[in-house]
Symmetry: C2
């Protein structure tokens, strides 16, 4: 309804009311609305936004829309927007833009900001430095609480960065003061007296995922980031940490489905890029699966004698694959959230084998009964398939739980050892287990 | 090293130093350390903790350890711990404990807290009410900034709840004041003048996942929770939101691997429970796979005439399954993070079919070449397998992307339409596509 109202006001060129309406909206909602509008309307509305809202909307919108907007805005309009943006957001925007746009954007910032931007641009992707906020409040230990509050009044424009203030001495981080303590301590007390010297911090080159996990683990609102000389250079805030954790979960899930992850959204990724992200694994797995095919081919003789054996292949391969990916998925997620460590490998295997015995007994029983009923009460066939089922499940769960841990040990991403790869590996194992068992039981030639 | 030092101090009964050492540690790290110690040592150390630390350690530890501790503590010790705990944490602890322990814990709290606890215990699991914090700061609009700061000094003990203060009138939420504004506004200004009347809020019965997503979307530190009469009853803070989002991601990943999710950790779940969580899907999928087997059985004749056809089955079924689960996984995750909506269904299908055409062309080419080289330059066989591959991939991607959206439409969890189920469904499709194509090309009888 809000959206219809806005469109109506826009059509009727009632800009004053439109501006008032926009002021009651959250920038995040404005972005969502603009993304559904055509470019002409979106630009018109953008021009009506209050300065701070415009900066936040500009930061949050997708890169296509941002490029359209940059092309439409005059240099002085652009300068106004850039002035209101936080440096770290500017850097994120620049990283996504083509070179000619970057030049225009950099022209629109003052020199001091440009210097800060250049420093930030040099941190490696996925490092704490690349996501940190450089607008934080630093206090000196000799300040009184009143002086500290005065300083916050002067510089504290950014709501993200005010909840914890950091105390530095020659730029080195020596403590932190929560804003609560500033509010509740007497005005004449020294920062030194109320600061907490046990400050958790991270380094610029730390992996952004580790930093986000630390924020989550300790329930922080922000964490200070120091450089190699222990100098405070920025902070990472909890809202950025949440986005990092979500991105990392999406990345893990992609890899677990055999898709190379990329940072754009589903619709923001082109068809060719989607195809590229998916082909590599498919190709690899397709070629690996030919091994299973070749092995299966070796038992043509056995299948010619007992054609019924063919009909159990999909069920056995399917169950083996599912059992294996259940185990590998649980281990991969356990490793990701820190519930499982490398040193737990034997505990994991022991647990999975016990689970496999329970599960496989149930499956073998149901399956054996089904075969007994459906295939003329052939007890030997039931037995053979029951034994195969148990063996397949135990092998599947053992391999499924071991490979992610092995990958971790080798410094690889455990997520690659998920369903697609595990299933392909287990297909081969299942065929081998199956035909080795039935050729013995039914005295078939391999 | 810290751990060794603590153990050493404990052995030598140097409790004063030990207490000092513990004071420098973060409660989260103390919990991690205690979990590795034996019960006797853990209890000894717990007794040495400062009151507030003890409450936080007690909140964070796993439920087994907490039960041991409750059995070891005297009633008055327990009362001290419970006095320092936040009401919402107490409720979380109570929900995990056996009835007799709950009684003992409730005895250790004062009556007012007990009332609050009983209210919180009545909210449904996974609702905003069940995770909200009831220790928040509410101001009146007639207060001056100075009076508001005084109130925070008096009641603001909880760091989580102070960053945003809420303004109420007859208990109804009418505005919010950021602590930054309190610090930077003149002392004599009225709350009314500086408060923000556009407050985002959620209701007690809202799903906790939706509330967590709102906090993430708008980058909030906390969100106020109102009841059905618009009265403010609590707040949900960003640290709880992060845990909720992580739990939900873990749940999705479990379901996507065909494992019923449960809230305990991997090692915290018993073997029988693990087996139970995994058997249902396995059983269902195993029985469904027999359909594929039966259909495969129908083509025994064709395979007898051309035994080489058997060797391509694992590759085709594997590739079909992988293609389908790539698509379904991307759609499931897209739905979960809000990138894809139900209304996008035709855009999704159109995109997936184009991706499928590109991918399948590549796969068919490589596969056709391989067969041409490996099977005596049999051009017809290459062609047949190439065509099958293309058809399988297109079918797999179409079905893979449609089913999660269909599940969503039907009000089911899209995550059930992940690899295990998709693979099983696609196995049948693949066999049908394959044999329908080859029987035509090679004039075989079905």
């Amino acid at each position: 309804m809000k959206r219809e109202r806005i469109l109506e006001l826009l059509e009727q060129r009632r800009f004053k009311e439109l501006r008032e309406e926009l002021e009651t909206m959250h920038p995040v909602d404005i972005v969502e609305m603009l993304e559904d509008f055509d470019t002409r309307r979106a630009i018109l509305i953008f021009r009506l936004l209050a300065k701070e809202d415009a900066a936040e909307v500009f930061t949050d919108m997708n890169s296509d829309m941002r490029e359209d907007l940059i092309n439409a805005l005059t240099d002085s309009e652009l300068e106004e927007v850039m002035d209101e943006m936080y440096v770290d957001d500017t850097v994120d925007v620049l990283e996504e833009m083509p070179a000619n746009v970057v030049d225009r954007l950099l022209m629109a910032t003052d020199e001091e900001t440009r210097k800060k931007i250049n420093v930030l641009l040099q941190y490696p992707e996925d490092s704490a430095g690349s996501i940190m906020n450089v607008d934080y409040i630093s206090l000196r230990k000799e300040m009184t609480v009143a002086e500290a509050i005065l300083k916050i009044r002067q510089v504290g424009i950014n709501r993200e960065t005010i909840y914890t203030c950091y105390v530095t001495e020659k730029k080195k981080l020596i403590g932190a003061v929560d804003v609560k303590d500033l509010l509740t301590a007497g005005e004449s007390r020294l920062i030194e007296e109320i600061m907490d010297e046990n400050v958790l911090c991270a380094a610029t080159l730390d992996d952004q995922e580790d930093v986000a996990k630390t924020i989550k683990k300790y329930g922080l609102v922000a964490i200070p980031i120091i450089d190699h000389e222990n100098c405070l250079v920025g902070i990472v805030t909890v809202d950025d940490a949440m986005l990092v954790l979500q991105e990392e979960a999406t990345e893990d899930i992609s890899i677990m489905a055999g898709v190379s992850p990329n940072e754009d959204s589903y619709f923001g990724t082109s068809v060719i890029r989607h195809a590229k992200n998916r082909s590599l694994w498919l190709m690899l797995l397709m070629l690996s699966a030919t091994v299973t095919g070749e092995i299966l081919g070796r038992y043509e003789g056995a299948m010619a004698v007992m054609p019924v054996l063919i009909t159990f292949i999909p069920m056995l391969m399917g169950t083996g694959g599912n059992c294996g990916s259940q185990s590998s998925t649980l281990i991969i997620r356990g490793l990701a959230v820190g519930e499982i460590q490398l040193k737990d490998i034997f505990r994991v295997i022991f647990k999975e084998i016990r689970v496999a015995l329970v599960v496989s007994f149930l499956l073998a029983l149901v399956n054996g009964l089904r075969i007994y009923i459906m295939y003329g009460q052939n007890i030997m066939l039931s037995l053979a398939l029951g034994i195969t089922m148990m063996a397949v499940v135990v092998v599947a769960k053992s391999i499924g739980c071991t490979l992610p841990l092995l990958a971790k040990k080798l410094g690889l991403d455990p997520a690659i050892m998920a369903a697609p790869l595990i299933t392909t590996i287990l297909d081969t194992c299942t065929i081998l287990v199956y035909f080795n068992i039935v050729t013995v039981i039914f005295h078939l030639k391999g």
